[in-house]
Symmetry: C2
Subunit: 201 residues, 2 copies
């Protein structure tokens, strides 16, 4: 489908450059934008520029923030000795949404993935080791994806950090709460049998 | 999920204002944008502003164009007496992609839909009647959606236009080519039996 306007074509290219959005969807979105007022489109465009201009990475954990240090690292009530290592800012948001973690985070900004050409040096790992050396950290929680890449990254981090006096833990794996057993995949189910927990009433 | 930055929050709001994009997807897209360079984000934002600034509606058919008159209406080789009435610019693109229509278009910019509060006066209908009066048009093809709203709009247009010396036609309806009969819906199948066509070898 050729659009009869190079300006629309260009806007479609930009929207279609976002992950998971094809050109047909992009065209639908762009034509919806085109129907908005000039002022609304100005606000739309400005929001991205202002975000790029103002959003910083927290100088401690790597989380996004409008300030030099993010609100979690600044919070006096958080347990600063427990650091939860995550791949991505969205993982911080997901864990924060549970309201069940009171420690702080370290955002790796990716995961070791040789297939995608991402090695340890591409990740925010050196700074994690600096934090372990300089801050009073007692426990590291590995909260990476339960995939081959996640396991590789966990193993690499463990090797780099094991010389320090730290407790290591990782998220528990098993059948999802509220899900039916017959739909659980075999590997998860077999691991949840091997790692069975004491029954609690 | 609360994002710890009002600038990201704002960008997420803007992306989530696009049709069919929820806040979780919007956040994923926005964080991907955040990783781009300042220059890339400038280009991203500019594309929408420049589109709004430069794209016009064709003064004849209502299609989008970078010029006063769109490339289809300007094309000397198109059959100017056959006008295909469509709901939306995307329908023009879809029909053009088939390369099997050599007439010109009229974009209504919507469809009569009382449920959504869209009446005839909200659509580009007066201009269609002006075109019929002033241009040398002999056939009107109704190419609106095969829905209740589409039928209502067809009927309304027919009533407004029947006093002029015009042939009216509409897209043929029936089972889709390449589809299996058992998956066709009942109404389509029953209409395709009633409207059966002479067998051609």
């Amino acid at each position: 489908m050729r659009v009869p306007s190079k300006y629309i074509e260009n806007a479609v290219d930009q929207i279609a450059s976002l992950p998971g959005i094809g050109r047909k969807t992009a065209l639908r979105l762009v034509l919806q934008l085109l129907n908005r007022s000039e002022n609304e489109i100005q606000q739309f465009s400005d929001s991205f520029l202002r975000m790029k201009e103002h959003v910083k990475k927290c100088n401690s954990c790597g989380n996004v923030s409008d300030f030099e240090t993010c609100s979690i690292c600044q919070d006096e009530n958080r347990e600063k000795s427990i650091v939860c290592v995550v791949e991505d800012i969205r993982d911080v948001l997901a864990i924060e949404a549970t309201q069940s973690f009171k420690g702080i985070y370290h955002v790796l900004n990716g995961i070791i993935s040789p297939m995608d050409g991402i090695g340890p040096s591409d990740l925010n790992i050196t700074h994690l080791i600096e934090r372990v050396q300089s801050q009073n950290i007692s426990e590291i929680i590995f909260a990476l994806s339960a995939t081959m890449e996640g396991d590789t990254t966990n193993f690499y981090l463990y090797k780099r950090l094991k010389e320090y006096d730290l407790t290591f833990s990782s998220l528990s794996k098993g059948v999802a709460i509220g899900s039916e057993l017959q739909y659980a995949d075999e590997i998860t189910l077999s691991r949840s049998i091997l790692n069975r927990q004491p029954f609690e009433l």
